[in-house]
Symmetry: C2
Amino acid sequence: MSASSHTHNHDPEEGLTFQPKFDASGLVTCVATDAASGDVLMVAHMNDEALRKTIASGEAWYYSRSRKALWRKGESSGHVQRVIEMRMDCDQDAVWIRVEQTGAACHTGRRSCFYRAVIGEGGEAKLTFIDADKVFDPAKVYR
Amino acid sequence: MSASSHTHNHDPEEGLTFQPKFDASGLVTCVATDAASGDVLMVAHMNDEALRKTIASGEAWYYSRSRKALWRKGESSGHVQRVIEMRMDCDQDAVWIRVEQTGAACHTGRRSCFYRAVIGEGGEAKLTFIDADKVFDPAKVYR
């Protein structure tokens, strides 16, 4: 491969051009993990503006599908996410951010949204609480 | 809360009833992380059947949106994912599995699909390779 073909490699998988592949709603999936523990904190979505604001500010911005609005993580709760590293996946439709989470990521008050494990029992699946202690009281934080 | 109301708590966020919230295409998002390193390996989707097969077999099954088909991870490559733990998020539209990954998760031959970091430079974003060594040669594995 010549230097010039490498420079101009726009292959989404092998190139170095940032070209997010937004879905029909204009979104990519974003996984936020705790930079210290490696735990998955939440899965949410970013539109083009949320991606750009996250990259520019170093703090996580998302797009809320239910509220149909751009959303700075922690704007109501103060529980911001400082981005330590952002990565893009092979086909550029998913983003992984490693963050320093202030307080808790989940609106229920837990550190992570993934506070229940799935247990299979005799063909049936059920949930069990795990790491489910509340870091804050949602009734006091969101009013 | 009485014992009986607790048993019958079907609140998706606070209950223990497994009730995945599938999107319009019948899918939930699944994040697979490496149980050993905590790295995010891939983001993919599961339909009801993929979820049930994953829970029943202890190996990851997905639904491929591009191929419109159920897909046992590793069925072509041998690079299966043994599920150590499965968790569900607050509103039950995303699943997190911690897995033991045989070989590599990414079809490009890398251990993880997230082999490029996003770097912001003067308002522009670009990618840079990170942990991008290939574990296998896709041309030899997929024929």
